[in-house]
């Protein structure tokens, strides 16, 4: 029994003539934090879109815990355990914090239009259970006292934390974090970094895209460096720091 959670097998993706992802393969082990770095336009977010199902690869396969998920739509992948934090913070601005978190619940039988008529008791019990769980995650990110605040009244950093809590609540197999630190003040950056490390201690599996290399090197067990849609490095962050590749790629001097 292997402990690979996510495996990507030589995927390719082009937009018109532009090859955004080329022959890319990677895997993530259970409980590992994989950092994904690369200059703008190197295909990082495209890979997240392919993993979460918003883009279909032209070629190649994606496996989650050994199951081929290449052809499944995003909502089914979410149910199977892919949780994604978007780069531009996505939350429901008109709903309260707790309502936001609760939306990620996975028991779809209580979401039918007529469910309230036939399953009143089940919904009540379920709601109580889910609310407790949701509060647990709000507390984890430090927003428990904001539970009834309308999301748009939270600060940008708090909105990001709320989005994180929403994903954690759905208890995913793998968490995709797209620039979790961007736009945050230094204090908040450290807080999010601590949270990510805490998640690692809880045994969560995470892929993180981030521009702030020092932070990525601090939090990741392994780092992947991308350039023009191609993987040019896959290994320990310590060695990459010393590697000339890093400088070449980010200054645009890396030969194909």
């Amino acid at each position: 029994m292997s402990n690979i959670v996510l495996k990507i097998d030589s995927i390719e993706k082009s937009f018109g003539g532009l090859k955004a992802v080329r022959e890319l393969s990677l895997f993530v082990n259970k409980g590992e934090i994989l950092g994904m770095i690369g200059p703008n336009g190197s295909g990082k977010t495209t890979i997240f879109n392919i993993i979460s199902g918003f883009l279909k690869p032209d070629r190649g396969k994606i496996f989650l815990n050994g199951t081929d998920i290449t052809k499944l739509s995003p909502h089914i992948r979410a149910d199977l355990g892919i949780g994604r934090l978007f780069q531009d913070v996505r939350i429901l601005k008109k709903l309260t914090a707790i309502e936001n978190v609760l939306l990620a619940q996975k028991n779809h039988s209580i979401e039918g239009p007529l469910a309230s008529f036939f399953k009143i008791n089940r919904i009540k019990n379920e709601k109580k259970k889910l609310t407790e769980e949701a509060l647990k995650w709000l507390e984890f990110v430090g927003l428990k006292d904001k539970r009834d605040t309308i999301a748009e009244n939270l600060s940008f950093g708090q909105q990001k934390l709320l989005a994180l809590a929403t994903i954690l609540f759905s208890d995913p197999e793998i968490i995709l974090l797209d620039e979790p630190l961007s736009g945050l003040d230094p204090q908040m950056k450290n807080k999010v970094l601590d949270l990510i490390l805490e998640l690692k201690d809880l045994g969560k599996t995470i892929i993180v895209i981030e521009h702030l290399l020092d932070f990525v090197f601090d939090m990741s067990d392994r780092v992947i460096l991308l350039n023009n849609g191609k993987k040019v490095y896959d290994g320990s962050p310590k060695e990459l720091r010393k590697n000339h590749l890093l400088m070449e790629v980010f200054t645009g001097n890396h030969a194909e």
Binding site: H75, L103, P113
Partner: protein
């Protein structure tokens, strides 16, 4: 006195229409201009069943509801994949097709002549007829629909619809089957529109296709947008306002020949003014952009 009860009955009918349209426009963010088509489908199914086959009202009603729900798939399946203006065009096409079918399928619908002599509903031998009795009957039905809509929208279902309205990508990423929810929202809204249609047909006892035109769909949309959408009270305000305004015009002594035109001008002006100064309507919480 009968006149007052007549208006109140029409308000009951329009309340169901506007509250159900609000499920699409206000909660799901789907700007539909074919709601009058489902209103007409309900009215015609029940009128045909009762006049041609002599089926009891309380059997015809569920059949009309089912029929309308099934037909809603014709617009919901293709249109959930189309966004924005293309979606509106799909609902527009459906509205036109339904009107044309009602107008031209003479052997079934009697076309432009309309169906007359639609019997009043009878309940255990008690005939519900005349404005007063019918008012209380329609009141009971509209209260039931109101309670139903309230429960459905307060439930997790309504919450998911709002999520889809605000951010479809996020809803998708959180595991919501967006297509399924849109189809369900359409089915619920058309079922309720069919109920209004049935109530209307058996109240006026004569229907023809001109009651279910594009103009009517736009009128319903005006109710929801002027009253305000995204919550329950908005459409209720809108219904009272827009159903009562034309009745007030009646008392101003405006000649019958120009009254309908003035009414159109007032609706148009109200829509423009509201879209400009108060896009969320009188009491709504959702701004349509």
């Amino acid at each position: 006195m009968n006149y007052i009860f007549h208006i109140l009955t029409m308000i009951n009918i329009y309340l169901i229409l506007s509250l159900s349209l609000n499920i699409l426009v206000g909660y799901s963010g789907l700007l539909s201009i074919c709601h009058a088509a489902f209103y007409g489908i309900g009215a015609y199914i029940s009128a045909i069943l009762m006049t041609k086959l002599g089926i009891n009202f309380f059997f015809a009603l569920p059949i009309a509801i089912m029929g309308s729900m099934v037909l809603s798939l014709l617009v919901s399946i293709p249109s959930v994949r189309l966004k924005g203006d293309y979606f509106i065009l799909t609902t527009f096409a459906f509205q036109i097709i339904v009107f044309d079918v009602l107008y031209n399928w003479v052997s079934l619908t009697k076309g432009p002549y309309g169906i007359s002599g639609i019997p009043s509903p009878s309940f255990l031998g008690y005939l519900i007829t005349g404005p007063v009795k019918y008012f209380f009957f329609s009141l009971i039905i509209s209260i039931l629909c109101f309670v139903f809509i309230n429960i459905v929208l307060k439930a997790p279902f309504g919450q998911v619809l709002k999520a889809i309205r605000e951010d479809e990508t996020l809803a998708h990423a959180l595991g919501k089957n967006v297509t399924k929810f849109k189809i369900q929202a359409f089915a619920v809204a058309s079922a309720l529109a069919a109920i209004s249609g049935v109530l209307f047909a058996h109240y006026v006892t004569y229907i023809d296709p001109t009651s279910f035109t594009l103009d009517e769909s736009i009128f319903l949309l005006s109710i929801v947008l002027i009253g305000g959408c995204g919550n329950i009270k908005g459409p209720i305000f809108g219904t009272f306002l827009l159903v009562i305004i034309p009745e007030i015009l009646r008392f101003l002594g405006i000649p019958d020949t120009i009254a309908p035109n003035i009414r159109q001008i007032i609706y148009g002006l109200l829509l423009v003014i509201f879209m400009y100064f108060r896009p969320q309507g009188i009491a709504g919480e959702y701004k349509f952009e």
